[in-house]
């Protein structure tokens, strides 16, 4: 593939924007990040190797811009002890005093079938909006950008234990919501 012009790059704007919004949960910031990405791509287009598609290449640049934005955000709003506690409280709330589940996880049958269902994705989007923005950002760094524990802890100046608690909370909350809103009626 040849080096892209502005029009080639703009084609991917919608995709990039959605990618950024899901992770940053802040549409204004997402706009900025996508804008920076497209500018950087245009400036650096001579370096486009042609080994990947334009979309993959742009996504690679976007990931770095998102991490930068998250790093800035976490510097402006560092993890406070109260927030840390509220994550642990949210987990506590999903279990009884003796450590049993409040909502015993049900069998979802063959959940992969749902991936083909458009309605599932709107439930999925709604459910991922339920966790606090900070938790969602960390969850997306891990699951969408596939950063390691070490990388995320370094970027956000948090400890692995902090991180694991947040990720666990994110998964529990997503799980519970999907079970109630989607799988509950299916099994």
């Amino acid at each position: 593939m040849s080096s892209p012009d502005d029009e080639d790059l703009q084609q991917h704007r919608t995709y990039l924007l959605r990618y950024a919004i899901v992770q940053l949960r802040d549409s204004e910031l997402a706009e900025d990040v996508v804008q920076e990405t497209l500018l950087a791509a245009l400036e650096g287009r001579a370096r486009f190797s042609g080994k990947s598609t334009h979309k993959t290449w742009l996504t690679g640049i976007l990931k770095h811009k998102i991490i930068d934005a998250m790093r800035r955000k976490s510097r402006e709003q560092p993890l406070t002890a109260t927030e840390d506690e509220s994550e642990a409280d949210a987990i506590d709330a999903m279990f009884k005093q003796d450590g049993h589940w409040q909502q015993f996880p049900a069998s979802w049958g063959n959940p992969e079938k749902s991936l083909e269902d458009k309605r599932f994705w709107s439930v999925f989007e709604a459910c991922s909006q339920l966790m606090p923005a900070r938790t969602a950002r960390v969850f997306m760094m891990r699951e969408v950008m596939e950063l390691s524990t070490e990388e995320i802890c370094k970027e956000l100046s948090i400890t692995p234990t902090n991180l694991w608690v947040m990720l666990h909370r994110a998964r529990l909350s997503l799980r519970e919501c999907l079970e109630i809103k989607w799988f509950g009626g299916k099994t």
């Binding site: 990618y19 899901v22 987990i91 279990f95 003796d98 450590g99 049993h100 589940w101 909502q103 015993f104 996880p105 049900a106 069998s107 979802w108 959940p111 992969e112 991936l115 994705w121 999925f124 891990r142 699951e143 969408v144 524990t149 692995p160 991180l163 694991w164 990720l167 666990h168 998964r171 529990l172 997503l174 799980r175 999907l178 079970e179």
Partner: protein, 74 residues
């Protein structure tokens, strides 16, 4: 189905093993971030053998990971 919590005798055994559903679910989640130690794996295996809820949770974690990636790549 809140009715199918582990039956009473198993419940006692689980607590003797020192791993509640809360602990087990945290380990299952951490297993997505790091390699669990041999003792953690053993305790978890014993717990999962007796607990359908946590076994379902393990499967749900795999599904959630796959779903996020599908969402990303769509």
């Amino acid at each position: 189905m809140p009715g199918n919590q582990v039956v009473r005798g198993q419940d006692v055994k689980l607590r003797m093993l020192g791993l509640s559903c809360k602990d087990a679910s945290a380990l299952l989640s951490q297993a997505q971030e790091r390699t669990l130690g041999p003792y953690e794996r053993l305790k978890l295996r014993l717990h999962l053998g007796l607990c359908d809820g946590c076994t379902n949770f393990r499967r749900q974690l795999e599904f959630i990971r796959a779903a996020v990636r599908r969402y990303r790549d769509s």
